[in-house]
Protein backbone atom coordinates (compact mmCIF):
# COMPACT_ATOMS: atom_id res chain seq x y z
CA UNK A 1 0.00 0.00 0.00
CA UNK A 2 2.87 2.36 0.83
CA UNK A 3 4.40 1.66 -2.58
CA UNK A 4 1.06 2.44 -4.25
CA UNK A 5 0.78 5.74 -2.37
CA UNK A 6 4.36 6.71 -3.31
CA UNK A 7 3.79 5.96 -6.99
CA UNK A 8 0.41 7.72 -7.12
CA UNK A 9 1.90 10.83 -5.48
CA UNK A 10 4.88 10.67 -7.86
CA UNK A 11 2.54 10.44 -10.85
CA UNK A 12 0.52 13.42 -9.60
CA UNK A 13 3.67 15.48 -9.03
CA UNK A 14 5.01 14.55 -12.47
CA UNK A 15 1.77 15.66 -14.10
CA UNK A 16 1.72 18.94 -12.14
CA UNK A 17 5.37 19.57 -13.10
CA UNK A 18 4.75 18.94 -16.83
CA UNK A 19 1.53 20.97 -16.92
CA UNK A 20 3.12 23.87 -15.02
CA UNK A 21 6.00 23.97 -17.53
CA UNK A 22 3.56 23.89 -20.45
CA UNK A 23 1.35 26.61 -18.98
CA UNK A 24 4.28 28.83 -17.99
CA UNK A 25 5.75 28.54 -21.51
CA UNK A 26 2.45 29.59 -23.05
CA UNK A 27 2.24 32.59 -20.69
CA UNK A 28 5.76 33.82 -21.41
CA UNK A 29 6.34 37.55 -21.45
CA UNK A 30 6.36 39.22 -24.83
CA UNK A 31 9.54 39.52 -26.86
CA UNK A 32 9.52 43.27 -26.37
CA UNK A 33 10.20 42.94 -22.67
CA UNK A 34 12.77 40.17 -23.19
CA UNK A 35 15.68 42.42 -24.05
CA UNK A 36 14.94 44.45 -20.91
CA UNK A 37 15.31 41.28 -18.84
CA UNK A 38 19.01 41.13 -19.63
CA UNK A 39 21.10 42.27 -16.69
CA UNK A 40 24.36 44.04 -17.56
CA UNK A 41 27.48 42.26 -16.28
CA UNK A 42 30.76 43.89 -15.38
CA UNK A 43 33.15 41.63 -17.26
CA UNK A 44 36.25 43.33 -15.87
CA UNK A 45 35.18 42.70 -12.29
CA UNK A 46 34.30 39.10 -13.17
CA UNK A 47 37.65 38.69 -14.90
CA UNK A 48 39.34 39.89 -11.72
CA UNK A 49 37.39 37.40 -9.62
CA UNK A 50 38.37 34.51 -11.88
CA UNK A 51 42.01 35.50 -12.11
CA UNK A 52 44.14 32.66 -10.71
CA UNK A 53 47.05 35.08 -10.18
CA UNK A 54 44.86 37.09 -7.80
CA UNK A 55 44.11 33.94 -5.83
CA UNK A 56 47.78 33.02 -5.70
CA UNK A 57 48.64 36.51 -4.51
CA UNK A 58 46.01 36.37 -1.76
CA UNK A 59 47.14 32.88 -0.77
CA UNK A 60 50.72 34.12 -0.32
CA UNK A 61 49.79 37.29 1.55
CA UNK A 62 47.07 36.05 3.92
CA UNK A 63 46.94 33.61 6.79
CA UNK A 64 45.26 30.31 5.72
CA UNK A 65 42.09 31.05 7.74
CA UNK A 66 41.86 34.58 6.36
CA UNK A 67 42.51 33.32 2.86
CA UNK A 68 39.69 30.79 3.13
CA UNK A 69 37.32 33.51 4.32
CA UNK A 70 38.30 35.90 1.51
CA UNK A 71 38.20 33.11 -1.03
CA UNK A 72 34.68 32.17 0.04
CA UNK A 73 33.58 35.78 -0.40
CA UNK A 74 35.13 35.85 -3.86
CA UNK A 75 33.48 32.54 -4.73
CA UNK A 76 30.08 33.84 -3.63
CA UNK A 77 30.55 36.91 -5.79
CA UNK A 78 31.69 34.66 -8.66
CA UNK A 79 28.57 32.52 -8.23
CA UNK A 80 26.38 35.63 -8.40
CA UNK A 81 28.04 36.65 -11.66
CA UNK A 82 27.71 33.16 -13.15
CA UNK A 83 24.04 33.02 -12.17
CA UNK A 84 23.38 36.32 -13.93
CA UNK A 85 25.36 35.13 -16.97
CA UNK A 86 23.26 31.95 -17.04
CA UNK A 87 20.02 33.92 -16.75
CA UNK A 88 21.11 36.28 -19.52
CA UNK A 89 21.91 33.23 -21.65
CA UNK A 90 18.35 31.91 -21.26
CA UNK A 91 16.94 35.29 -22.28
CA UNK A 92 19.23 35.29 -25.30
CA UNK A 93 18.10 31.77 -26.21
CA UNK A 94 14.54 33.06 -26.39
CA UNK A 95 15.52 36.18 -28.32
CA UNK A 96 17.54 34.03 -30.72
CA UNK A 97 14.73 31.50 -31.12
CA UNK A 98 12.27 34.27 -31.93
CA UNK A 99 14.64 35.52 -34.63
CA UNK A 100 15.00 32.01 -36.14
CA UNK A 101 11.66 32.51 -37.89
CA UNK A 102 12.83 35.67 -39.67
CA UNK A 103 12.77 35.66 -43.46
CA UNK A 104 16.30 36.95 -43.86
CA UNK A 105 18.82 34.09 -44.07
CA UNK A 106 21.65 36.22 -42.60
CA UNK A 107 19.53 37.02 -39.55
CA UNK A 108 18.54 33.37 -39.19
CA UNK A 109 22.18 32.29 -39.28
CA UNK A 110 23.12 34.94 -36.70
CA UNK A 111 20.19 33.85 -34.53
CA UNK A 112 21.24 30.21 -34.83
CA UNK A 113 24.75 31.07 -33.69
CA UNK A 114 23.40 33.16 -30.83
CA UNK A 115 21.15 30.34 -29.63
CA UNK A 116 23.98 27.82 -29.87
CA UNK A 117 26.41 29.98 -27.92
CA UNK A 118 23.79 30.94 -25.35
CA UNK A 119 23.00 27.27 -24.76
CA UNK A 120 26.69 26.51 -24.35
CA UNK A 121 26.97 29.35 -21.86
CA UNK A 122 23.92 28.12 -19.95
CA UNK A 123 25.40 24.63 -19.82
CA UNK A 124 28.83 25.89 -18.78
CA UNK A 125 27.31 28.22 -16.21
CA UNK A 126 25.50 25.25 -14.66
CA UNK A 127 28.70 23.22 -14.39
CA UNK A 128 30.67 26.25 -13.17
CA UNK A 129 28.11 26.88 -10.44
CA UNK A 130 28.47 23.28 -9.30
CA UNK A 131 32.24 23.71 -9.15
CA UNK A 132 31.95 27.02 -7.31
CA UNK A 133 29.63 25.51 -4.71
CA UNK A 134 32.07 22.62 -4.29
CA UNK A 135 34.90 25.11 -3.93
CA UNK A 136 32.89 26.93 -1.27
CA UNK A 137 33.12 23.76 0.80
CA UNK A 138 36.84 23.39 0.00
CA UNK A 139 38.11 26.94 -0.59
CA UNK A 140 41.66 25.78 -1.33
CA UNK A 141 40.52 23.85 -4.39
CA UNK A 142 40.68 25.25 -7.91
CA UNK A 143 37.42 26.60 -9.37
CA UNK A 144 38.28 27.81 -12.80
CA UNK A 145 35.41 29.86 -14.21
CA UNK A 146 37.46 31.36 -17.01
CA UNK A 147 35.78 29.23 -19.72
CA UNK A 148 32.50 30.90 -18.70
CA UNK A 149 34.08 34.31 -19.13
CA UNK A 150 35.36 33.39 -22.58
CA UNK A 151 31.99 31.94 -23.60
CA UNK A 152 30.19 35.03 -22.31
CA UNK A 153 32.39 37.28 -24.41
CA UNK A 154 31.68 35.15 -27.50
CA UNK A 155 27.97 35.29 -26.71
CA UNK A 156 28.02 39.06 -26.54
CA UNK A 157 29.53 39.12 -30.01
CA UNK A 158 26.71 36.96 -31.38
CA UNK A 159 24.05 39.03 -29.64
CA UNK A 160 25.51 42.20 -31.06
CA UNK A 161 25.58 40.75 -34.56
CA UNK A 162 21.96 39.64 -34.30
CA UNK A 163 20.96 43.03 -32.88
CA UNK A 164 22.65 44.79 -35.75
CA UNK A 165 21.00 42.57 -38.34
CA UNK A 166 17.53 42.89 -36.85
CA UNK A 167 17.62 46.55 -36.08
CA UNK A 168 20.77 48.38 -37.23
CA UNK A 169 19.66 51.61 -35.57
CA UNK A 170 19.11 50.13 -32.10
CA UNK A 171 21.67 47.45 -31.30
CA UNK A 172 21.91 45.25 -28.23
CA UNK A 173 23.72 45.72 -24.94
CA UNK A 174 24.21 42.77 -22.64
CA UNK A 175 27.07 44.02 -20.56
CA UNK A 176 28.25 47.16 -18.92
CA UNK A 177 31.18 48.65 -17.13
CA UNK A 178 33.86 47.63 -19.59
Amino acid sequence: MILAIILVVAAALALIFILSITVSRSLQVSNRSLAGAIQPLDLEAFRNLTDAAEDDYLRRRLQPADFRSVRRERLRAMAAYVQVAGRNATVLVRIGQSALTAGDSTTVEAARQLVEQALLLRRNATFALLRIYLALAWPNSDSDARPILHRYEQLNGSAMLLGRLQNPAVPLRISGGL
Binding site: A14, Q117, V170
Partner: protein
Protein backbone atom coordinates in the same frame (compact mmCIF):
# COMPACT_ATOMS: atom_id res chain seq x y z
CA UNK B 1 -23.62 4.69 -16.00
CA UNK B 2 -20.10 3.87 -14.77
CA UNK B 3 -20.50 0.15 -15.28
CA UNK B 4 -18.76 -2.29 -17.55
CA UNK B 5 -20.60 -2.79 -20.84
CA UNK B 6 -22.65 0.36 -20.40
CA UNK B 7 -23.12 2.62 -23.42
CA UNK B 8 -20.47 5.05 -22.14
CA UNK B 9 -18.07 2.17 -21.59
CA UNK B 10 -18.52 0.97 -25.22
CA UNK B 11 -18.09 4.52 -26.51
CA UNK B 12 -14.94 5.25 -24.48
CA UNK B 13 -13.33 2.03 -25.64
CA UNK B 14 -14.18 2.28 -29.34
CA UNK B 15 -14.23 6.04 -30.06
CA UNK B 16 -10.56 6.78 -29.27
CA UNK B 17 -9.47 3.91 -31.53
CA UNK B 18 -11.64 5.16 -34.41
CA UNK B 19 -10.29 8.68 -33.85
CA UNK B 20 -6.75 7.28 -33.84
CA UNK B 21 -7.37 5.62 -37.22
CA UNK B 22 -8.67 8.95 -38.53
CA UNK B 23 -5.61 10.69 -37.08
CA UNK B 24 -3.35 8.15 -38.79
CA UNK B 25 -5.13 8.74 -42.09
CA UNK B 26 -4.84 12.52 -41.60
CA UNK B 27 -1.12 12.25 -40.83
CA UNK B 28 -0.67 10.20 -43.99
CA UNK B 29 -2.62 12.64 -46.17
CA UNK B 30 -0.82 15.70 -44.79
CA UNK B 31 2.50 13.83 -45.16
CA UNK B 32 3.23 14.58 -41.49
CA UNK B 33 4.08 10.92 -41.01
CA UNK B 34 7.50 11.55 -42.59
CA UNK B 35 8.49 13.69 -39.62
CA UNK B 36 6.75 11.47 -37.08
CA UNK B 37 7.04 7.85 -38.30
CA UNK B 38 7.01 6.33 -34.81
CA UNK B 39 4.01 8.42 -33.81
CA UNK B 40 2.11 7.10 -36.83
CA UNK B 41 3.16 3.55 -35.93
CA UNK B 42 2.07 4.11 -32.32
CA UNK B 43 -1.28 5.59 -33.41
CA UNK B 44 -2.08 2.71 -35.76
CA UNK B 45 -0.84 0.00 -33.39
CA UNK B 46 -2.84 1.44 -30.47
CA UNK B 47 -5.99 1.66 -32.57
CA UNK B 48 -5.69 -1.90 -33.89
CA UNK B 49 -4.76 -3.24 -30.45
CA UNK B 50 -7.71 -1.59 -28.68
CA UNK B 51 -10.22 -2.57 -31.36
CA UNK B 52 -8.96 -6.16 -31.28
CA UNK B 53 -9.23 -6.27 -27.50
CA UNK B 54 -12.73 -4.77 -27.69
CA UNK B 55 -13.93 -7.35 -30.20
CA UNK B 56 -12.40 -10.16 -28.12
CA UNK B 57 -14.02 -8.74 -25.00
CA UNK B 58 -17.54 -8.68 -26.43
CA UNK B 59 -17.21 -12.07 -28.15
CA UNK B 60 -18.65 -14.63 -25.69
CA UNK B 61 -16.68 -17.56 -27.12
CA UNK B 62 -13.31 -15.99 -26.31
CA UNK B 63 -11.71 -17.37 -23.15
CA UNK B 64 -10.40 -14.84 -20.59
CA UNK B 65 -6.93 -16.33 -20.90
CA UNK B 66 -6.96 -15.73 -24.66
CA UNK B 67 -7.99 -12.11 -24.06
CA UNK B 68 -5.12 -11.60 -21.61
CA UNK B 69 -2.64 -13.18 -24.03
CA UNK B 70 -3.66 -10.63 -26.66
CA UNK B 71 -3.46 -7.92 -24.00
CA UNK B 72 0.13 -8.98 -23.21
CA UNK B 73 1.15 -8.96 -26.87
CA UNK B 74 -0.38 -5.51 -27.41
CA UNK B 75 1.23 -4.21 -24.24
CA UNK B 76 4.72 -5.29 -25.28
CA UNK B 77 4.32 -3.88 -28.80
CA UNK B 78 2.87 -0.62 -27.47
CA UNK B 79 5.67 -0.32 -24.90
CA UNK B 80 8.37 -0.70 -27.56
CA UNK B 81 6.67 1.85 -29.81
CA UNK B 82 6.23 4.30 -26.93
CA UNK B 83 9.95 4.30 -26.15
CA UNK B 84 10.78 4.71 -29.84
CA UNK B 85 8.31 7.60 -29.91
CA UNK B 86 9.95 9.22 -26.88
CA UNK B 87 13.31 8.99 -28.68
CA UNK B 88 11.68 10.63 -31.71
CA UNK B 89 10.28 13.50 -29.61
CA UNK B 90 13.66 13.97 -27.91
CA UNK B 91 15.47 14.05 -31.26
CA UNK B 92 13.06 16.64 -32.69
CA UNK B 93 13.33 18.80 -29.59
CA UNK B 94 17.10 18.78 -29.09
CA UNK B 95 18.84 17.68 -32.30
CA UNK B 96 18.81 21.24 -33.70
CA UNK B 97 20.96 22.30 -30.72
CA UNK B 98 24.28 20.40 -30.78
CA UNK B 99 25.49 22.36 -27.73
CA UNK B 100 23.13 20.47 -25.45
CA UNK B 101 22.03 17.46 -27.54
CA UNK B 102 24.84 15.22 -26.28
CA UNK B 103 24.35 16.34 -22.67
CA UNK B 104 20.63 15.66 -23.03
CA UNK B 105 21.25 12.19 -24.44
CA UNK B 106 23.54 11.31 -21.54
CA UNK B 107 21.11 12.71 -19.00
CA UNK B 108 18.14 10.84 -20.45
CA UNK B 109 20.28 7.68 -20.64
CA UNK B 110 21.19 7.96 -16.96
CA UNK B 111 17.60 8.73 -15.98
CA UNK B 112 16.48 5.71 -18.04
CA UNK B 113 18.83 3.38 -16.18
CA UNK B 114 17.65 4.73 -12.81
CA UNK B 115 14.02 4.37 -13.87
CA UNK B 116 14.52 0.78 -15.02
CA UNK B 117 16.07 0.02 -11.63
CA UNK B 118 13.29 1.85 -9.73
CA UNK B 119 10.50 0.21 -11.73
CA UNK B 120 12.08 -3.22 -11.26
CA UNK B 121 12.20 -2.60 -7.51
CA UNK B 122 8.56 -1.44 -7.53
CA UNK B 123 7.55 -4.58 -9.44
CA UNK B 124 9.57 -6.79 -7.08
CA UNK B 125 7.80 -5.40 -4.02
CA UNK B 126 4.31 -5.57 -5.52
CA UNK B 127 2.01 -8.40 -4.42
CA UNK B 128 1.82 -11.14 -7.07
CA UNK B 129 -1.35 -13.13 -7.48
CA UNK B 130 -0.22 -16.71 -8.13
CA UNK B 131 -3.74 -17.78 -9.17
CA UNK B 132 -4.08 -15.15 -11.90
CA UNK B 133 -0.42 -14.56 -12.69
CA UNK B 134 -1.16 -13.57 -16.27
CA UNK B 135 -3.41 -10.74 -14.98
CA UNK B 136 -1.25 -9.41 -12.16
CA UNK B 137 1.82 -9.75 -14.38
CA UNK B 138 0.14 -7.54 -17.00
CA UNK B 139 -0.68 -4.96 -14.33
CA UNK B 140 2.93 -4.94 -13.17
CA UNK B 141 4.22 -4.63 -16.73
CA UNK B 142 1.88 -1.67 -17.26
CA UNK B 143 3.15 -0.10 -14.04
CA UNK B 144 6.77 -0.65 -15.11
CA UNK B 145 6.25 0.86 -18.57
CA UNK B 146 4.44 3.90 -17.15
CA UNK B 147 7.09 4.55 -14.47
CA UNK B 148 9.80 4.68 -17.14
CA UNK B 149 7.64 6.66 -19.58
CA UNK B 150 6.66 9.23 -16.93
CA UNK B 151 10.25 9.65 -15.77
CA UNK B 152 11.58 10.16 -19.29
CA UNK B 153 8.83 12.65 -20.13
CA UNK B 154 9.54 14.62 -16.94
CA UNK B 155 13.23 14.66 -17.92
CA UNK B 156 12.48 15.88 -21.45
CA UNK B 157 10.17 18.65 -20.21
CA UNK B 158 12.55 19.59 -17.38
CA UNK B 159 15.57 19.69 -19.69
CA UNK B 160 13.80 21.83 -22.30
CA UNK B 161 12.48 24.14 -19.61
CA UNK B 162 15.89 24.57 -18.00
CA UNK B 163 17.44 25.60 -21.32
CA UNK B 164 14.29 27.48 -22.45
CA UNK B 165 14.12 25.37 -25.60
CA UNK B 166 10.80 25.61 -27.37
CA UNK B 167 9.67 22.21 -28.67
CA UNK B 168 8.05 22.13 -32.12
CA UNK B 169 4.27 22.41 -31.74
CA UNK B 170 3.51 18.87 -32.96
CA UNK B 171 6.11 17.31 -30.67
CA UNK B 172 4.87 19.40 -27.74
CA UNK B 173 1.37 18.09 -28.38
CA UNK B 174 2.56 14.49 -28.68
CA UNK B 175 4.63 14.78 -25.49
CA UNK B 176 1.85 16.49 -23.58
CA UNK B 177 -0.67 13.82 -24.57
CA UNK B 178 1.74 11.04 -23.69
CA UNK B 179 2.47 12.71 -20.33
CA UNK B 180 -1.16 13.14 -19.39
CA UNK B 181 -1.93 9.57 -20.40
CA UNK B 182 1.19 8.12 -18.72
CA UNK B 183 0.76 9.94 -15.39
CA UNK B 184 -2.93 9.07 -15.02
CA UNK B 185 -2.39 5.47 -16.18
CA UNK B 186 0.58 5.11 -13.81
CA UNK B 187 -1.58 6.17 -10.87
CA UNK B 188 -4.49 3.91 -11.81
CA UNK B 189 -2.43 0.84 -12.76
CA UNK B 190 -0.40 1.24 -9.57
CA UNK B 191 -3.60 1.12 -7.54
CA UNK B 192 -4.78 -1.92 -9.50
CA UNK B 193 -1.42 -3.71 -9.23
CA UNK B 194 -0.71 -2.99 -5.56
CA UNK B 195 -4.07 -2.94 -3.82
CA UNK B 196 -6.99 -5.32 -3.66
CA UNK B 197 -9.69 -3.00 -4.92
CA UNK B 198 -13.29 -4.18 -5.31
CA UNK B 199 -14.50 -4.72 -8.89
CA UNK B 200 -16.64 -1.56 -8.87
CA UNK B 201 -13.61 0.58 -8.08
CA UNK B 202 -11.57 -1.11 -10.80
CA UNK B 203 -14.28 -0.33 -13.32
CA UNK B 204 -14.21 3.34 -12.24
CA UNK B 205 -10.44 3.36 -12.77
CA UNK B 206 -10.99 1.84 -16.23
CA UNK B 207 -13.39 4.67 -17.03
CA UNK B 208 -10.83 7.25 -15.87
CA UNK B 209 -8.14 5.66 -18.08
CA UNK B 210 -10.41 5.48 -21.11
CA UNK B 211 -11.69 9.05 -20.69
CA UNK B 212 -8.16 10.44 -20.30
CA UNK B 213 -6.94 8.50 -23.35
CA UNK B 214 -9.92 9.85 -25.34
CA UNK B 215 -8.94 13.38 -24.30
CA UNK B 216 -5.31 12.73 -25.30
CA UNK B 217 -6.38 11.51 -28.75
CA UNK B 218 -8.39 14.72 -29.25
CA UNK B 219 -5.34 16.70 -28.12
CA UNK B 220 -3.14 14.92 -30.68
CA UNK B 221 -5.69 15.62 -33.41
CA UNK B 222 -5.67 19.30 -32.45
CA UNK B 223 -1.87 19.59 -32.34
CA UNK B 224 -1.14 17.55 -35.47
CA UNK B 225 -4.05 18.10 -37.83
CA UNK B 226 -5.39 21.59 -37.05
CA UNK B 227 -3.41 24.15 -39.10
CA UNK B 228 -1.27 26.40 -36.89
CA UNK B 229 -1.39 30.17 -37.16
CA UNK B 230 1.84 31.94 -38.05
CA UNK B 231 3.91 32.31 -34.90
CA UNK B 232 3.62 35.57 -33.03
CA UNK B 233 7.27 35.17 -32.13
CA UNK B 234 8.33 36.74 -35.41
CA UNK B 235 7.70 40.23 -34.08
CA UNK B 236 10.82 42.36 -34.16
CA UNK B 237 12.43 42.78 -30.77
CA UNK B 238 13.04 46.29 -29.56
CA UNK B 239 16.66 46.12 -28.46
CA UNK B 240 17.98 48.53 -25.85
CA UNK B 241 20.89 50.89 -26.45
CA UNK B 242 24.36 49.38 -26.51
CA UNK B 243 28.07 49.84 -26.11
CA UNK B 244 29.00 48.33 -29.45
CA UNK B 245 32.35 50.06 -29.77
CA UNK B 246 33.54 48.69 -26.43
CA UNK B 247 32.36 45.20 -27.32
CA UNK B 248 33.99 45.30 -30.71
CA UNK B 249 37.25 46.30 -29.06
CA UNK B 250 36.90 43.43 -26.60
CA UNK B 251 36.16 40.93 -29.38
CA UNK B 252 39.07 42.16 -31.45
CA UNK B 253 41.32 41.67 -28.43
CA UNK B 254 40.03 38.10 -28.10
CA UNK B 255 40.60 37.40 -31.79
CA UNK B 256 44.27 38.41 -31.57
Amino acid sequence: MLRAHSLLWHYLWVAPSVLLLMLGFGLWRLRVHRQHPFFLAFVLASAVEQLTLYVLDITPSVEPETWWRFFWAGLILEGILKFALLAEVFAHAFRPYPAIATLGKRLIGMVGVLLIFASSMAAAFAPLDSLFGIVSGAHLLQQTIYIIECGILVSIFGFSSYFRIGMPSADRGIALGLSLSACVHLATWTLVANTSLPDDSRVVLDFINMAIFHFCVLMWIYYLLVPRRASEMTAMIALPENNLALWNRELERLLQ
